[in-house]
């Protein structure tokens, strides 16, 4: 069987997991050690697939019974059949993606909904550091210096809302949270989220269930 840790998973992952219906088909891009995927398989009986670039992490995932492909997520998403996932999860990975617009277009083909989470760059601690210290900001969520960060993009909640619409997505739900990078606990932020939330979680979709005009098929049979 798939082995899930008995300890609770990270708060941000728990928030993501809470939005997924039992039995869904889930693709986790950049699944790391597979904690979220294992939790979903065990507790929500999802049919899960992960993609992870790191060979040791991918091997760790497979050895705990998960279905995981070791490889680059940008190219791996291209080979799945149309609409084969209910949810595609991009958990704290978007800030490391070279071409986010191209990736989100590819995800619309294979998944019904996409869940994107990322550290919020407009958090007040980051604003204050830039304002008062004049140095590239660092905090618990973004602990790197400019010269060693894997994060090639900085994203704010507001930026992502605009971006999602620009690439043709509709925001189904937004959950803004305040939590640490490894914390098991946290809060949902409802007021002044752009200042106060450390992470944003967005559930987006391209094809709404109703309202989209469908092509009428002519039956030549």
């Amino acid at each position: 069987m798939v082995s899930a840790e008995h300890a609770p998973i990270r708060f941000d992952l728990r928030m993501i997991a809470s939005t997924i219906e039992p039995g869904s088909r889930v693709l986790d891009l950049g699944c790391g050690n597979g904690d979220l995927l294992a939790w979903l398989v065990v507790h929500k009986e999802v049919i899960g697939t992960g993609i992870e670039r790191d060979k040791d992490k991918a091997a760790h995932c497979i050895a705990r019974g998960l279905t995981v492909l070791q490889g680059d997520l940008n190219s791996e998403v291209d080979d799945f059949p149309d609409g084969c996932f209910d949810y595609v999860i991009l958990s704290q990975t978007l800030q490391q993606v070279f071409a986010p617009d191209r990736l989100l277009s590819a995800l619309a083909r294979i998944g019904r909904r996409v869940i994107v989470s990322f550290p919020n760059f407009s958090h007040y601690s980051i604003r204050l550091q830039l304002l008062l210290r004049g140095a590239a900001p660092k905090n618990d969520q973004l602990p790197y210096s400019w010269y060693n960060t894997p994060n090639i993009r900085v994203i704010t909640l507001k930026d992502f809302r605009d971006f999602a619409r620009q690439v043709g997505y509709r925001i189904v739900r937004e959950i803004d949270i305040s939590t640490g990078p490894a914390a098991k606990e946290g809060q949902i932020i409802r007021r002044l989220a752009n200042y106060r939330a450390t992470y944003g979680i967005f559930i987006i979709e391209k094809h709404s269930v109703s309202g989209t005009p469908r092509k009428t098929r002519t039956n030549h049979g």
Binding site: M1, V2, K55, G65
Partner: protein, 381 residues
């Protein structure tokens, strides 16, 4: 989860099953008829009453059915079976849970019918009268053997290199019997590079004057040709990194260059040793037949046309493994397989293992592979 320790399976015995007796020979993929056919095999653990806890291990080109344990007459220095680190109680393929079977491939010379076996029509070895057999024919004979032994379901089919081709063929021919498939360091078809090295091996054998058009069984073996064939093969199973690490330019039993052809370098001495060792255990005609079967193998079209489970096709769980330094069946070929499986709606895991040992890395004890296979099998539930 299965650990990487475990204990030895202990003493094992090679067994034989003969079938396709007159008047009903086996019809091969080429249409040729062959009979009787004997397949040598070994099994480890206990097949349950339902016959559904079986794992088939398919061996590579020059391998045999002796995958684990020792034979009763083994001396202390004799090596155990070729995958002893993987198969046994508490090991990656845990014989406390699974019944593991390995059969010698058709066309080989390690107990199964091949070109060195007696042709019932003449009483002499078949030699080149042996019909050309395919990877598909190897799988057919394995299926007959498993039916005979009462196997109803394969929990997994696992194999490296040419063994991986048999794994793929199993998934295409008998998908209803296969729950999971693990092709390791394998490919859907040979590249020109792989065919080229096989052709060099075959030419080396056929150019040996002792080969005699394959009819050498009464006289001298084509030992030189077979040894050269093995030397070529062995180089393709290694890698640049592994050879630099193992040999570099170090000299063998000498301090200075000899300025002659006696073999100055360690790598020369090593290849000569590997070549002569192979001559003692393997048949030259079997090399010709098996390399040709591997060259003919091409599963690309069939994997590209898989019916997804959602459309009524069979559901097999795949784990595809490649090695970073394998230049015979490089990772891009494993990825082509993964791509075809994804498009066919199959559940597939893939991992490239970082190792400098080249193609043969799956034969070298490595806890990473053991953990990967053991954990994947545990995950089947």
């Amino acid at each position: 989860m299965s650990g990487t320790g475990g204990t030895s399976i202990g003493v094992v015995e090679k067994q034989f099953h003969s079938f396709a007796l007159p008047p009903e020979p086996l019809v091969l993929e080429s249409g040729a008829r062959l009979g009787p056919v004997t397949i040598a095999y070994e099994s480890y653990g206990q097949l349950n009453a339902a016959g559904d806890n079986a794992i088939l291990v398919a061996h590579a080109f020059s391998g045999d059915s002796h995958a684990a344990g020792h034979y009763p007459g083994d001396r202390a220095e004799d090596k155990p079976g070729w995958w002893d680190f993987m198969i046994g109680p508490g090991k990656g393929l845990d014989t406390d849970r699974y019944w593991v079977i390995c059969a010698n491939i058709l066309g080989s010379c390690m107990g199964s019918t091949g070109p060195s076996s007696p042709n019932p029509a003449t009483g002499k070895p078949y030699a080149l009268d042996f019909p050309m057999m395919t990877i598909g024919d190897m799988v057919t004979t394995q299926k007959i053997l498993l039916d005979h032994l009462g196997v109803t379901r394969l929990q997994a089919v696992i194999g490296g290199s040419v063994g991986g081709m048999q794994v793929l063929e199993w998934c295409l021919r008998y998908p209803e019997l296969v729950r999971a498939a693990i092709p390791i360091a394998s490919t859907m078809r040979h590249s020109a590079l792989a065919i080229a090295f096989n052709e060099i091996a075959r030419q080396a054998i056929m150019a040996d004057p002792n080969w005699q058009n394959g009819n050498y069984y009464a006289g001298e073996k084509p030992a030189t040709g077979l040894a050269v064939a093995r030397m070529v093969g062995h180089v393709t199973y290694l890698s640049d990194e592994a050879m630099r690490r193992k040999f570099g330019r170090r000299l063998q039993d000498r301090e200075k260059l000899s300025y002659g052809f006696g073999g100055d370098f360690q790598v020369e001495s090593y290849l000569r040793y590997q070549g002569s060792k192979f001559v003692n255990r393997f048949d030259a005609n079997s090399v010709l037949y098996i390399t040709k079967a591997a060259d003919y193998f091409d599963a690309v079209d069939r994997f590209s046309a898989l019916t997804p489970p959602a459309a009524g096709g069979h559901r097999i769980k795949y784990l595809v493994v490649s090695y970073s330094s394998d230049w015979l069946y490089p990772t891009y070929q494993a990825k082509e397989l993964v791509q075809a499986l994804k498009r066919g709606g199959q559940e597939v895991s893939f991992c490239e293992i970082e190792a400098d040992c080249g193609h043969d890395a799956f034969l070298i004890p490595d806890p990473r592979l053991t953990r990967l296979l053991g954990g994947f099998l545990d995950g089947l539930g």
